[in-house]
């Protein structure tokens, strides 16, 4: 070949190679029965007994199955799955009855020993989700039955058992690969790349930082899922938007309401109010601040906030906080009982408080957005509203890495924060009652409000769910009067997906990849 022809030949070969892959470039998500999900990874592990992050939940729902599961968007949509269940009258003993025919991916039948091992391992290794089974003893009753026994009433046990971290693992496989019931457990590395569950999918390949792919479990004991292969890619929101529009991603999970405007026809938005709550915290510890701990100052802030204006910052699908409990969870207050802005009442309370315009530090994690809503933007809006009222909130922005410590230590004077219950059950909200975890962060110890503390005891011991829900509503009305938390809004969960996919957003804010429907 003449020397002058070599570059031309090389260029032609390159063009050939590139043209060969051009078709593949758009075919990723459209390949037959393959689904591509773009999400911003917070993945730290694929070991269900250590996993506690949204990305892990999303992926592991397909690999590990739980005794119970949600079938709809409301928290009361629990249905038996691997097991039937029965709670005793005082909500202390949950009996699970394993259904026939359940098998792991290798074809081995699931036994009650596997359930006991899975939960004792989760408790014993002291990973992130082990707190969920705090104070619970797991015991095998027979070859078909297992009990979960709590010293105190725990009606939330069925809800907890829907979480993918409660997925059942094959005891034999985990033990063979270094698993144990103590913190010395060494199975995590193995579980990061291998599946030992009974789900309709198994892990094909995983890289916790970039991509995880699941393939259909050929030996699945139940009905085959809609897709043969699911690929999860670590992609940030702006790129997710382009990918779903282009069709190279079928489902994207992190778009803000702004990004979901003007979507093309091949793309659908499924949205639900989330369990997350944005709220203002006012510290009640006089040692931290004599201003924010003044009940009249708290009242002034509560009635001075223009909630509708704040809600507009969060888009049309976000909803006002009525009480503390999210609207999808039983026991929530009706929307019309939300605190209403009353500037005259706020001004009167402020005058009564004796406040003289002193600067009040208002902390915010300035690098954090919650479902596309910038906390900094919301805090600036609150600052402006309070200024009109005569309250001098001085913004104290810092990255979440440094804002988290003083918040958890109860050292912040006032702040804007967000929170989500670990499980969609009203018992998760005990945390806000005086002396409990969230209340301590607001400098609100035991003895701060006798009425709420009496309600806490009453609810705990109340066997009737309906009555408990009523009592929770009563408690929230009290919180709306005296609580140090001023609830602002529940942002919307936005899942944008190809119109050919049908999905249901669960009360946990994600969706079940095994229940996806291909249209």
């Amino acid at each position: 070949m003449k020397r002058s022809l070599i570059p031309i030949a090389a260029a032609a070969a390159l063009a050939l190679v590139l043209s060969g892959c051009a078709g593949g470039s758009n075919g990723g998500a459209n390949a037959s029965k393959q689904l591509v999900i773009d999400t911003s990874f917070d993945l730290t592990t694929l070991d269900p007994s250590r996993m506690y992050e949204p990305t892990g939940m999303l992926i592991l729902r397909g690999v590990y199955e739980t005794p119970l599961r949600f079938s709809g968007s409301n928290a009361d949509s629990i249905e038996p799955y691997l097991t039937d269940y029965e709670m005793n009258a005082d909500n202390t003993v949950l009996t699970l009855t394993l259904r026939d025919g359940v098998a792991f991916g290798d074809g081995t039948p699931m036994t009650t020993d596997d359930i006991v091992f899975s939960y004792n391992r989760l408790i014993g290794i002291k990973g992130n989700p082990s707190v969920a089974l705090d104070g619970i003893t797991v015991a095998k009753v027979s070859d078909t039955q297992v009990t979960l026994t709590s010293e105190t009433p725990k009606p939330q046990m069925p809800v907890i058992l829907t979480n993918p971290s409660m997925g059942i693992v094959s005891a034999a496989e985990v033990e063979k690969n270094g698993g144990s019931l103590t913190p010395d457990d060494k199975a995590e590395s193995y579980l990061n790349t291998n599946s030992v569950g009974s789900g309709p999918y198994t892990i094909e390949k995983s890289d916790l930082k970039s991509q995880v792919s699941l393939v259909r479990n050929e030996k699945y004991w139940g009905e085959a899922p809609a897709y043969d292969r699911i690929v999860f890619r670590n992609v940030q929101a702006p790129t997710q938007l382009i990918n779903v529009k282009a069709g190279t991603a079928n489902i994207v999970t992190d778009l803000s309401f702004d990004q979901t405007k003007d979507l093309p026809k091949n793309v659908t938005l499924t949205t639900e109010p989330s369990n997350q709550m944005l709220y203002v915290l006012l510290n009640q510890d006089p040692a931290i601040s004599t201003i924010t701990s003044n009940p009249k100052f708290l009242e002034a802030v509560r009635y001075g906030i223009d909630y509708d204006a704040i809600l507009r910052l969060a888009g049309p699908d976000a909803v006002r906080v009525a009480g503390l409990i999210a609207p999808t969870i039983p026991g929530a207050l009706p929307a019309d009982e939300a605190v209403k802005t009353d500037v005259a009442k706020a001004k009167a309370a402020l005058q009564e408080s004796g406040y003289n315009g002193e600067a009040v530090k208002f902390s915010v994690a300035n690098d954090k957005s919650v479902r596309g809503i910038s906390l900094l933007t919301v805090s600036e809006a609150i600052q402006a509203q309070m200024k009109e009222l005569g309250i001098n909130f001085q913004l104290d922005p810092s990255p979440i890495t440094t804002a988290l410590d003083p918040y958890r230590d109860g050292k912040q004077t006032s702040a804007l924060w967000y929170v989500q219950p670990d499980y969609p059950h009203n018992f998760e909200y005990f945390s806000y009652f005086p002396g409990n975890q969230m209340a301590k962060r607001a400098g609100w110890p035991k003895g701060s409000d006798a009425q709420l503390e009496a309600l806490e005891t009453q609810i705990t011991n109340e066997p009737s769910e309906d009555k408990r829900n009523e009592l929770f509503q009563e408690a929230q009305r009290r919180f709306n009067e005296v609580g140090p938390f001023v609830g602002l809004l529940h942002p919307a969960t936005n899942i944008v997906h190809s119109s050919s996919v049908d999905l249901t957003i669960l009360p946990t804010g994600d969706f079940d990849i095994t229940a996806l429907v291909k249209k």
Binding site: L14, V17, L18, G20, C21, A22, G24, S25, N26, G27, G28, Q34, V36, D38, T44, T45, Y52, K126, G127, N128, P129, S130, V131, D134, P183, E188, S189, N192, E204, K205, D207, L208, K209, S210, Q211, S213, V231, R233, N234, V235, Q236, P238, T239, I242, N243, K245, A246, T248, A249, D367, P399, I400, T401, T402, L404, D405, R408, V419, D422, Q437
Partner: protein, 346 residues
């Protein structure tokens, strides 16, 4: 010592490696001190809301990661492990940092490597052209192009390129290093282009190459802007030297004059800039990586910092230090090959 005196290049390299080791020790001290000065508890970042309130879980986590030891002990332990090639364990994933860096570094190396090769070819070529056409229209256009490359924010350019070339016109593929339908080639180097060729998998090679073009082009534009300016001024300095005029007077072909006399003379400052630019590309591609879902060192560093993952931050600091020190060493050695006046002698 007699051997070292006999071979000055070996002595030079030995001395540089010794200095590099000291520099890296300095990097570990600075990184360790700075990360521990952040007024935040890494346990709070790693554990969930409830778990962080459970003393037993917190104690277990501190013990598992050595965070229950005094700071000095933590540092000494880190150094002891480092000498054995152990960079510690991630506070987020509990995976070895060395393994995680080994996963992300090739992705960035591949991207930055392609970008720097194109930058070198285009930057030096266009810079030389601009110098030869000094003051003329071509020179003016190239200076505007250079200014554009330097001043346009890279993330914005990346988003624009992604939107038009992928979404609107469908010329190039989208996110990631490969289409989701394809599996990565069997790992040998971690560089998909190399590994797919080693596996004889042309389809994967082509796909990886097509995924590489867009992010590499975005990175190239910035570096080209830089190189055009440096190459232009370096070539201008050399053009009027006596030895270049003599070469022309001897009747040598102009391409021969450019390559053998002009560029060789101008190459020292150009190589310095290329070295720095390559180091910058390897350690500073976080925004481009974010737009193109290219999970390399930049994204890893960003996540490590966001989550106060101390061992990962230390690991990234060390890797970036090694990158810069190695590049500087290569550049210094290259000086000797290009310019006999700076060659080490006995």
């Amino acid at each position: 010592m007699r051997f070292l005196r006999k071979y000055p290049l070996v002595m030079f390299l030995t001395r540089r490696v010794g200095i590099a080791a000291l520099l890296l020790l300095g990097v570990t001290i600075v990184t360790f001190t700075l990360t521990n000065l952040v007024p935040s508890d890494p346990v709070n970042q790693a554990l969930g809301d409830k778990a962080s309130g459970d003393p037993a879980i917190v104690a277990q986590y501190r013990a598992d990661h050595g965070l229950d030891q005094p700071i000095v002990v933590q540092y000494v332990t880190y150094l002891q492990n480092l000498v054995q090639g152990d960079l510690g364990v991630s506070l987020q994933t509990s995976q070895p940092i060395a393994q995680e860096l080994g996963d992300v570094l090739p992705a960035t190396m591949e991207l930055a490597g392609v970008a720097i090769i194109f930058s070198l070819i285009l930057g030096v070529g266009l810079g030389t052209l601009a110098a030869y056409r000094r003051g003329k229209f071509t020179d003016q256009v190239l200076r505007v192009v250079s200014l554009f490359g330097l001043s346009v924010p890279t993330f914005w350019l990346a988003l624009l390129a992604y939107y038009f070339l992928f979404y609107q016109w469908g010329i190039l593929p989208g996110s990631g290093r490969l289409d989701p339908t394809l599996m990565p080639p069997p790992r040998v180097t971690g560089l998909y282009l190399v590994d797919s060729l080693l596996a004889g998998d042309i389809e994967t090679f082509g796909n990886a190459l097509s995924h590489l073009i867009l992010p590499a082009a975005v990175l190239t534009l910035y570096t080209v802007g830089l190189l055009v300016r440096f190459a232009r001024s370096a070539v201008l300095e050399v053009l009027n030297q006596d030895y270049v005029r003599a070469a022309r007077a001897k009747g040598l072909r102009s391409t021969s004059v450019v390559i053998r006399y002009v560029l060789r003379g101008a190459m020292v400052p150009i190589i310095t800039v290329v070295g720095l630019a390559f180091g910058g590309l390897l350690s500073g591609t976080v925004l481009v990586e974010s737009v193109f879902a290219w999970n390399g060192l930049g994204q890893y560093a960003f996540n490590a910092a966001s989550n106060l993952n101390l061992p990962a931050i230390m690991g990234v600091g060390l890797v970036v230090g090694v990158i810069y020190i190695t590049i500087n060493l290569i550049v210094d050695v290259a000086y000797g090959f290009i310019d006999p006046r700076v060659r080490v002698t006995s």
